[in-house]
């Protein structure tokens, strides 16, 4: 792969950077995880235990309904998920529901309360599941969110794939139909008025500052500090490079944070996206971040000409052109490059630190998956090497 050279502005004064600036709710979650770790091995809950928990929850919430046919769902790499039917006094959109619950530890530590706020904020903007309730852990021992069930598939039924939809290949007609929706939904999320969206657990970076970038580097560096396992000088090179080259964010927007194939549902017959899922990494920041994340090779395929096909659907240049046409935003290649390095940085962080710790300690519901995902770091390192070669080779 060819190395990439992008000229970044003059380096930041290292001593002037506030390395403690992290969204308070996210820092609290990391600290709380370390407390929960003391409880030891996590035994995944059975469907019967979930059914009993739902009975108690509905009574507690004053919902005159009962849950039936509780079944564990497969797929995904971070949260435990169960689907169930509801009968009784319940609106139609909640006749079938999904319970999304935190394991004791996982590949990422995220907040169901924040996720619930986001889903409610974008409900009229992009297709998302309706939220029935969010619980911080009192009702069933672990934090969870319950949403209405939305039909669809996360990858083409004709395509094999790895965990979380990685490596799935889109047939051309499907890719052609889904691409405009995929980009339109991203543009719509970026256009949400986050100041009046009820996002009480989110902090907003100051426009015209490096807050948006800094908070991200600080957060993922803190994850490594708290969950560090093995040495990885490449990751540390990226860390110092990211701090040296923090970009200014002119206009912070609402970001999905994990916008990729595998994180939306679609109907194969109508070829419509039925739900954008997995909002747990959502935050407010620079729009380049979501675009850079989509450009991570792990989430796409290489075309015959070597170009990256985002989500196995659309080449990067066409993605940029369509996004720019929808939003009027101009992609700054320097900022895009910085956020691509950040994307590599945080993805390696997830797989090289928290994931391995959870697998080692048996604190997740799918420890075999987390142990397998540790291998992702090797492939991700290829991308990081390519991105940093222009500065260090």
């Amino acid at each position: 792969m060819a190395s990439m050279t992008v000229a970044h502005p003059a380096r930041q004064d290292a001593a002037a950077i506030d390395r403690t600036a992290i969204e308070p709710r996210l820092l609290w979650l990391l600290q709380d995880k370390h407390e929960r770790r003391k409880a030891g091995i996590y035994i995944p809950k059975t469907a019967d235990e979930i059914a009993a928990g739902l009975t108690g929850l509905f009574a507690q919430l004053g919902i005159a309904a009962s849950a039936h046919n509780v079944k564990r769902m497969g797929g995904g790499a971070s949260k435990e998920q169960f689907v169930f039917d509801v009968t009784g006094d319940i609106p139609p959109q909640f006749r079938r529901c999904v319970l999304r619950m935190d394991p004791r530890e996982g590949i990422i530590e995220t907040c169901r309360r924040r996720e619930g706020q986001i889903l409610r904020a974008v409900y009229d903007t992009v297709p998302v599941p309706p939220v029935l309730c969010v619980d911080d852990g009192g009702a069933m021992g672990q934090p969870f969110m319950i949403t209405g069930f939305v039909g669809g598939v996360a990858k083409p039924s004709v395509s094999a794939s790895g965990p979380s939809g990685l490596g799935a290949v889109m047939p051309a007609p499907l890719a052609k139909a889904l691409t405009p929706q995929f980009i339109q939904h991203l543009a719509s999320v970026h256009a949400v008025d986050h100041a009046s969206a009820g996002l009480d657990d989110y902090e907003v970076p100051r426009p015209g500052t490096t807050d948006a970038a800094l908070w991200q580097v600080n957060y993922w560096t803190k994850v490594r500090e708290m969950d560090g396992t093995d040495s990885l000088p490449l990751l540390t090179l990226a860390e110092t490079w990211l701090y040296d080259n923090l970009p200014i964010c002119d206009d912070p927007v609402l970001l999905h944070g994990d916008h990729r194939l595998g994180n939306f549902l679609f109907d194969e017959e109508s070829m419509q996206i039925t739900a954008v899922l997995d909002w747990e990494l959502a935050h407010i920041g620079d729009f380049h971040e979501d675009i850079a994340y989509s450009f991570e090779p792990l989430f796409g395929q290489r075309g015959g000409d070597g170009r990256l096909i985002v989500g196995s659907m659309v080449p990067t240049d066409e993605f940029v052109a369509q996004y720019a046409a929808l939003t009027g935003r101009v992609i700054d290649p320097v900022k895009l490059h910085w956020y691509q390095v950040l994307t590599s940085y945080k993805l390696i962080m997830m797989n090289h630190t928290s994931s391995i710790i959870a697998a080692r300690d048996g604190t997740n519901h799918q420890n075999a998956l987390l142990a397998w995902l540790a291998a992702v770091t090797a492939g991700l390192s290829a991308t990081m090497v390519e991105l940093l070669a222009g500065d260090f080779a």
Binding site: M1, A14, A15, P44, K71, R72, M73, G74, G75, G162, P163, L166, G167, D230, S231, L232, P233, L234, L235, T236, L237, E239, T240, Y243, D244, P297, L298, R302, H365, Q366, A368, L369, A371, W372, A375, V376, T377, A378, G379, L380, S381, A382, T383, M384, V385, L388, A389, F392, A393
Partner: protein
Amino acid sequence: MTPNPVIRLTGVVQTLEHVVFPAVDQSNSLAVEQCGLVLAQLKMLIGHLPWIGAYHQLCFDDVAATAEALPAGAGGPATMGAAAAVAEALAAARAQGDPLAGFHQIGTAIDDLLRAVAQDGGAEYRRSAERTIFAFSQRQSLRSRSWFREAGFDPAPSSVPDYAEMIAGASA
């Protein structure tokens, strides 16, 4: 020793694959998925087993050579302390004789050095040290990609050498 670990693990895999996993409730999607991952991990480990010692030694030799090749430290107290710590880690790791532990002992000292030079390293020293460490990281990236290629996550698997050939080539 007989039987060797590869034979023992191969027997375990065969039993899991043909007796235990077919008996798993196919409607329990989590259990079915985990079975697939358990099998894949065990099969990858069977491939790795004969090469683990040589692979760790190869990685250790390179990180040790990298630490040795770093220029003499230049800069403030953080940099000078971290540069001295790399030399100490190198000596300790070589004395210890455990390639895996030694790899991370030196690697952690290099991690600390990178943060130190960002803080108060002399400009020329920082540039030189970072380039030396980046060059090592490129080689280590290729080694780890080779080691984990069959996991299926590599962005360009055809450009990655087979690990057995890589290790054999390095020792030739």
